[in-house]
Symmetry: C2
DNA sequence: TGGTACAATGTAAACGTTTTTACACTATCC
DNA sequence: GGATAGTGTAAAAACGTTTACATTGTACCA
């Protein structure tokens, strides 16, 4: 049996109410009593039962975090960011992996039953009825890495500006024929990156013909196939913008296998800045995504929404999509 | 106000005791009543409050997991393994990052206060008084990736056998002069890997002279320095075994910068099988660590200890250190 | 027909907090 | 010297479950 507030009260010769007041610095307690209670707490090595506190307070000081079950080192960074933010205000983290697609049911039920004070959902692509219920019940929700277009605070990496930065840099190298290896076509990330490239090109009076846009799937292998396709073109591109580093790496391999040189014959750039990028030969020019920061800010936002919620603030219009800035990482594969 | 067991009871026209019995399949309940209760639960969209359940049951169906704050993709794999294992028995995960060294206090207090049913500690290197208290209180603890030498179930990757496998393979290539780039010298991992190499060498009548063992620190950069040192030797090694992939990569770069070829002039092998390893030129031969499995088994063990605990089992001696097998990943850097 | 056995359900006491309410005691004022 | 205000503390009512125990109802048997 663990020691409870009753034990402390008995030891200090006061009532449990007083002990509680001392612990939470609530009402006035005389210095002598406070002293006695603190001494008892120390002697008995008392630690308040968080379950009971949660029950009484209707607040658990716990943040729910959902991450996709994908094996992507990115997500670990997000977890770190979220955890760091949470721990600054003594919040803890309840984590659920989205094991199968469409298993939202499982973690939403979990979070509801365990009464997390707020939730951070990473890369969730469905807006379920359950989610709506939870929002209505007043539990703050923040999304990251995926925009559902709902009225939910959402933190995203600014793919469009990131792509523009990179494209602008390619312009500085004066490349004319630039190709794009896309991710799966329906993903917003890939589309935004393509849009960034396209806009910059057209601002420079260049265009992006359809044969220069090849669809990949973000995964290993697809960049290789896409690049082979590009190499077969009569007017093969001078530079290739891959929608992620993985495919950029593939592309470089395909180019080198074809007996050509990167960046001398064809420049290649990627997106993500995965650890591997700096080790390639040539090292890959890419766009760094602020993943840790994404987690940090999403968590901070969720936590501040908890406070506002309990203050029952008037609902002033607040920004609902926040784009985090990327940064350009210049290495050698672009021709630098 | 969320719906409680009272609401369900009223709606179904029964007492809360009966509702609880239906939910938990406890005692006998007549089919008709059960039906009515289930209907009420569905109509009201009732979800039991896990805090209250935890308080009443003295059990939270929650597993505490501590991971180091290091930015290592490895740890995400462990988290996945643990989460998968936990979710098979409907356990959820409370995660704490070890933000600063010596912050055990924080997460142990957290887990104690939130009453996790068991804990998995990853790469924890101190055995604190608090930890001992928790163990005494009967909360099962399992460790992973670090052996404290205490009487605690511990899951490790079998560094010794992994190193031996790799060393045996180098023997097949008939290398005679083999060097070792160690990690920080006091880490058991590095020592075990060195021991594996040394043992295999001596079994083949070879020795490992002191000048062939250079200390690194596992981090980027140190392998480069170590390799330069080795290259300056009058009888430079034919093969280099780096204590991790990161340093192996460094070593390859140093060799190539010196105008030599891998594996023709010097073979290089690593340990870890990080994603990057397969992308190097030449692709790195290394030892794959079963990280996901490590998390999975550690969690399974912790969960089964919970059950035994509640059964109040007699304490029969059980294995306390479990070594998970590595696997050799042959690529080209070893000369294959 | 009265007693027993048993199945089905209701009741109330835990579980360990917080918080509201009430009360006792001082000090202060006319 | 009694009303008044201000402190410090105790007591009790939440919070939402589970579960041991009590109660009811029914069937069976002597």
């Amino acid at each position: 049996m663990t020691t409870t507030i009753f034990d402390v009260a008995k030891q200090a010769g006061v009532s449990i109410g007083t002990v509680s007041r001392v612990i939470n610095n609530r009402d006035r307690v005389s210095p002598e009593t406070r002293e006695r209670v603190l001494k008892a707490i120390q002697e008995l090595d008392y630690h308040a039962n968080a379950l009971a506190q949660g029950l009484a307070n209707q607040q658990t000081n716990t943040l729910g975090l959902v991450i996709p079950q994908v094996n992507d080192p990115f997500f670990f960074q997000i977890v770190r960011g979220v955890e760091d933010a949470a721990s600054t205000v003594d919040y803890s983290l309840l984590i659920a992996c989205q094991s199968r697609p469409a298993s939202e049911h499982r973690y939403l039920d979990l979070f509801r039953r365990k009464f997390v004070d707020a939730m951070v959902l990473v890369a969730i692509d469905v807006y379920s009825h359950e989610l709506e219920q939870i929002i209505e019940r007043g539990v703050p929700i923040v999304m990251a890495q995926q925009d559902l277009g709902k009225n939910i605070p959402t933190f995203l990496v600014d793919n469009y500006r990131g792509a523009r930065q990179l494209a602008e840099h390619l312009m500085e190298h004066s490349y004319q024929r630039i190709a794009f290896i896309s991710g799966t076509h329906y993903t917003p990330d890939s589309r935004e990156r393509l849009r960034g490239l396209r806009d910059v090109l057209s601002e420079h009076g260049l265009e992006l013909p359809a044969r220069y846009v090849v669809e990949g799937d973000y995964l290993r292998g697809s960049g290789h196939r896409a690049m082979q396709q590009l190499l077969e073109l009569p007017d093969r591109p001078e530079a290739v913008f891959a929608a992620n580093d993985q495919m950029a790496i593939d592309a470089i391999m395909a180019i080198q296998e074809a007996g050509l040189k990167v960046p001398d014959d064809i420049a290649v750039v990627g997106f993500d800045d995965i650890p591997m990028a700096s080790y390639l030969s040539p090292p890959l020019t890419t766009v760094h995504q602020p993943i840790y920061e994404l987690g940090w800010h999403a968590a901070k936002a969720a936590l501040s929404l908890i406070k506002e919620e309990s203050k029952d603030n008037g609902s002033m219009a607040a920004p609902h999509v926040m784009l985090l800035p990327t940064s350009l990482v210049l290495r050698r594969s672009c021709g630098c």
